[in-house]
Structure formats: structure tokens, C-alpha cells
Symmetry: D2
Subunit: 144 residues, 4 copies
Amino acid sequence: MLEHHDSTVRVRYAETDQMGLVYHSNYLVWFEIGRVELMRSLGFDYKQMELDSDTYIVVVDAHCRYQHPARYDDLLTVRARILQAKSRVLKFGYEILRQSDVRVLATGETTHIACNRAGQVKHFPDKYKTAFLSLAGSPDPSVK
Amino acid sequence: MLEHHDSTVRVRYAETDQMGLVYHSNYLVWFEIGRVELMRSLGFDYKQMELDSDTYIVVVDAHCRYQHPARYDDLLTVRARILQAKSRVLKFGYEILRQSDVRVLATGETTHIACNRAGQVKHFPDKYKTAFLSLAGSPDPSVK
Amino acid sequence: MLEHHDSTVRVRYAETDQMGLVYHSNYLVWFEIGRVELMRSLGFDYKQMELDSDTYIVVVDAHCRYQHPARYDDLLTVRARILQAKSRVLKFGYEILRQSDVRVLATGETTHIACNRAGQVKHFPDKYKTAFLSLAGSPDPSVK
Amino acid sequence: MLEHHDSTVRVRYAETDQMGLVYHSNYLVWFEIGRVELMRSLGFDYKQMELDSDTYIVVVDAHCRYQHPARYDDLLTVRARILQAKSRVLKFGYEILRQSDVRVLATGETTHIACNRAGQVKHFPDKYKTAFLSLAGSPDPSVK
């Protein structure tokens, strides 16, 4: 089963729109918080990866299904896991849960490739690859 | 063939990130500009639809594939079309093109349902439905 | 001396720009987190104030001085205090500090008036006014 | 009298908040559009200035007074002018006007210094300085 990591986010006023709900693009920002904190929990500091290894994790695909709206001031759990890890491709899965009733508000996936600062595709540095692969070993049947 | 509508967006400094590219969630904001301007070109004013008909078009699914990065100050075309229109569901397709070389930077789709202010699902008001359906009549084979 | 309240914010990737620093408008978003958490620490729930009292705290003036740049992944303290409280006007002061070295990165102030949903200026409801006034009693000489 | 430059912005849904108005930090983003387009109208391409001269215009002070709210879909004029130009400091003034009734919605100022990529303060390159100074020659009495 894939390990996941939970982060907490509180909905900001700036993230709402005039419908009284969270504007939908903000979920992608929360997904990013989820994957950064997942990596931090594994001992990787994304900031250092950029600085030390000239490796940037570029988003090539993002998908989000919105089931129930998040609202201002909601405390949310961003649950992130690695769905797939190859030498150049990394795929994350996410669930956004409202903490008050543990309801799933949204699910999604993002796919990433490794690039250098100049934008050229590269392999993930070995130390990252090993860890990513170990995490993505056995698929979680609960993740679509 | 599905009609499409083209809008122009210039990339803002605020939309870039420290990778030197546009942060990926902003494409969803541009998609929205595309569909609002598509509707305006058909004679619908989304603002008035909210006010007059208590009808909000809520996003239930958003998907974006990023092919080439948009950069600060790029002039972009947001090409939007209606992929599917049912009595309660509306699906849009998008392409983001860089105007300088007409390169496709990203493609995507969003799916929407009609809700009232209280968040209850409703049918699209008749005048909107008729127009949406007429537009979505014959599928464009170039749209995946 | 004015009481202050400290909140913690971690800089998001989405908040950076291509200069490699935080884009400057995000400091206003952090100021808002600071004043909402300050009010929460006093027993006020801003969300409930909107719902129960039809009272919205509208920004009429915002000022920020940027001294040192915040960067991606920095842990920041948002220090907020009430500078002035009148029956219709509320003024907050802020400092943004980087937690790693307790350096002040920015300072600022925002001024607010109370409005109803329709945008008409109103007095703050009594229970809020009393608390705001008590907090703003004696000026802090360290706040400009 | 100081020359000004007018740019047009249409309010995006993403820029509104649950009060039904534009969230206040977005005015700083519009100010930036105003100053970039002002510079473009003078023959300067800010993007090229960053690339060619390693000169970044860093915000050190931003102030905005909000007089009337901007709303979704409003067409706005961002009026920008140079208030002050010194060898290392540049100050811009702004007015945000709603085009439908030419009402001033907000006014503001931002102050900037020139830095290189590493964040060190520098003089503006000569070709920029000369142009900025010529523009800021005689104060406009209508600008506060």
C-alpha cells in the first residue's frame, strides 16, 4: 500500500470567489503543498533539490475532480501519495478532505518530469529516484 | 465542426514562479477567461446569468496537459469551445497558444454543472440550454 | 502596549515570481491571515461575523514596506495588532518576520470600515466594538 | 505635467472574493500591468531589461487607497505615471477607473529600486535613467 502524507491548510479569504466558495484553481496550489510536504516527510527538501541538483519538477498534467465545495476558513487535509515513479516521470495522487467531517471534497493527480533550469528533460538524481521508487512499489487499490 | 472563440491574454509577472515559467494553476484561470468570452461572443453575459437566473456554472472537473511553458509577457490565445452540452452538464475544451509562433502550449477540458446560489443542482435555463446545445451539435475530430 | 498575535505562514511556490522572490501582492494576503487569526485569538470568528451580523470588514487602505525579500519555503511569522479602533474604522499593523533569523522582512498597515452585504457603511456590532476598543487602548510607541 | 499611460483590464472571476467584490491584493497586480505598459509605451520592454541588463525593478513600498469596489467583469482603466525618478529609485502613481462611468475606484503608489539578479542594489542603466528622468520632470499638480 502506498504511503501517504497529510498536510493541513486553512482556506484563505483570497481563495474564495463571489460564488462564496473556493475558486477552483486553488486546489492545484494545495496539491503542491501536499507533494512538497510529502517529500519533506521523506527527508527531501524540494528547495534544496532545485539549488543543489539543478532539478526542477515540472508539471506536465494536472487533473482535479471537485465533489463538494471548500469554503472560507475551512481546515482541510491535503493527502498526497506517489502513484508512479520512473526515472524521468513522477505521478502524485491527492485527496482534499474537510477536517470537520472528514468529507472528501476533491481528488486529483499531477504528473511531473524532471528538468534542469534551462528546461531540458533529465533523469531524477539517483538519491531521489531510489526513494521515490521505493514508495511507489505496490499500488494502492483504493486510488483510482 | 465545433465553433471556437479566441481570447487574448498577456502573461502577468504575478503569474510566473521562481522556475521562470508561469505557475501551472494560472492556466485554469485563463481557461475561465476563454469560456466567459466564448459565452459573451454568443450573446450571453455570465455576470447577468448569475444575477438574473440564479444560475452558477460550477466546475466539477478540470484537466490540463502542459506541453510547452508560457513565460512572462507572452501574448497568448485562449481558444475555447463547447465539447458537450446537456441539460445539467456543460463541457468545454481549450487550447492555449503562444501568438508569436502559434505553438500550442497547453490543452485542457473543464466540466461544469448548473447550480443555484444555495449550491443545489439545477437545469440550465432554457435560453442558455438551446444555445449551448446548438453549439455542441457536431463533434470536432481534432479535439481529443 | 498593544497586544499582538503571531501566526505562521510557509511561503508557497505559487507565491514566488521569476525574480526568485515572493511576489509583493502576497504580503497583503498574509496580512489578512494575521488579522483573522488575531481576531480568532480574541474569540471572534470572522466567518461568523459575516454570517451572523451581516458585517463585512472592507479594506479602504493598505500600505506595505518591503525591507528584505521572503523566499520559497521560508517559515514566516505574521505579527498583527490593532492600531486604532473607532465605531466604524479599524486599523491594523503588521510585521512579517522570517523565523530562521527573526529578521523583519516587511511592515504594513491596513485600514478597514464595517459594511453590510449591500456595501453600506455601518457601525461595528457592539460586541466587536467593545473588544476592539479595549485592545487599541494604549498606543505602542514602537509602531510607527 | 506628467505623462500617463492607460491600460485596460477586465476583472476576472478568480479576482473576486466571497464579499462579491475584487479581493484587495489584486489591485497591486493591476498596478504592475499599468507600469509595465507605461514602460512599453516609452519603448522599454521590462522583460528585455531583466534579460539584457540584469536589472530587476524591486518593489520597496506599495500603498493603495480603495474608494469604490471593482466587481467581476468590470472593464477598468489602469492609469500609470512616473512620479519620481532618481538614479536608483523609481516611484509610480496609479489610478484605477471603471470604464462604464469613469469613476475612480482606487489610487496608489509604488516605489522601486533597481537590483541585479543577486539582489544587490544598483543604478538604473543609463538608457533607462535618461528616459525615466525626462518623464518625471515636472510634477502634475493633480497627483497627490
